[in-house]
Symmetry: C2
Subunit: 251 residues, 2 copies
């Protein structure tokens, strides 16, 4: 048995998320179908975590075990030759058998893009949230500071997906306006890095940051965290603005 | 009768181009359906020119005549409220009755984006051409210089769309590599401004520039122009990399 680790980038627009599901298209199913065809084995691909329908990945990490003799480079070329162009394999490496893409995660970093231009930019409709109002980034950055550190983030967990604990550690919050370029208008970019994310945590953090920026009450973030209930926080921001940006592992 | 001029931006991915056609979705039809509903009139929207299926517009110009008393601002707000988010009206103005969006054009500028990264960037699959090989921009820029000026561009006209003359004047050719940003990888950006474009002229120019960059024979561009036949030039680059960038009018 050998273990292959993949780094994958995908456009989630046309998929029902990462995780295998019956009767719909998912990223995991797309990979497994090709790997089973290549090797003749029943291969299961494990990702670092699921992403929801419409959510993108700049870098997702996954791995699978195989009895085949194909080198990692063969998997890389074959997958990129056979996969649809909205899924690309960036890297393939043979790793130690005990590598586990979920258990070994040290931190994950998500990015969220908001198009706060009026009118919005049509080419970004599947890649950002058109929030309909110009955002005050000072207020957002001020609210974002309250998120740092080890805290109970129960207020940002969507119901129906209980975890043993809702305590996580947010290591970094970066909120900035990306200036307009030759290609794209000015956009708001929010990045959060944490030891782990509860279900919908990034999207409900973004919805809450936008709510507090609109009302210009950034200091309410502390009360919202302390409330430890989902109803205290803002809406869940839509999936198409969300990108899994990086997954970090112990050396 | 009054005349309203619109500036429009659209994502062409889900449309069969600008121009009205039976049984399929087009930009012109989308606008006309809403304007007819608003005014109760049979309104015809005339664009500065057609764009093909999958082609985008950063700025398309169009106009229509109406007997209604609605101000230009009312049309702007109503259209943006009712149109799907892949079509946005950037500007609406009342103009003189004799304004004509085709006849009055002084020049048009197109942009073409090429993703020459390996692997390609999945989020740009509908917004660029993944040409599969790293491009030599020096060769492209050298070939591009031969395009400038008043010339017979018959080599870049797709058959089946005869125009009275195939002579046009190319005013500017700008070929550059856009460096990677926080959001996007490095891309090749080609912009051409001309007094007018033959059918598929921009896309066949791009296909020819890529062909000459691959073979590193930029000086062949002159022979290709002089041949005055389509078969001398390169392939027609795919539609999804093309953007109508600007339409300039006499004052």
């Amino acid at each position: 048995m050998r273990r292959i680790r993949l780094e994958i980038s995908y456009d989630g627009t046309n998929y029902h998320g990462w995780q295998s599901q019956p009767d719909v298209s998912t990223i995991q199913d797309s990979l497994e179908a090709l790997l089973c065809g290549m090797t003749g084995e029943r291969i299961k691909v494990t990702g670092s975590g699921r992403t929801d329908a419409g959510v993108h990945a700049i870098k997702q990490v996954a791995s699978f075990g195989t009895e085949s003799a194909f080198g990692a480079g063969v998997f890389l070329r074959a997958l990129n030759g056979l996969l649809p162009v909205d899924i690309r394999v960036l890297k393939a490496d043979e790793v130690e058998l005990n590598f586990h893409p979920i258990r070994d995660v040290v931190s994950k970093r998500y990015r969220y893009l908001i198009d706060d231009n009026l009118p919005s930019f049509p080419m970004l409709r599947n890649y950002s949230w058109s929030c309909g109002v110009r955002l005050n980034l000072e207020a957002m950055a001020c609210a974002g500071k309250f998120l740092l550190g080890e805290q109970d983030f129960a207020s940002f967990q969507t119901a129906g997906s209980p975890k043993k604990t809702t305590v996580r550690t947010i290591l970094d919050v970066l909120i900035r306006r990306l200036e307009a370029t030759a290609l794209y208008p000015s956009l708001v970019c929010i990045e959060v890095e944490a030891t782990g994310f509860l279900y919908n945590m990034m999207r409900s953090i973004v919805g809450t940051l936008v709510m507090l920026a609109k009302s210009n009450e950034p200091e309410l973030m502390k009360k919202i965290i302390d409330a430890r209930k989902r109803s205290a926080a803002g809406q869940t921001a839509p999936p198409q603005g969300l990108y899994l940006l990086d997954v970090k592992y112990k050396k």
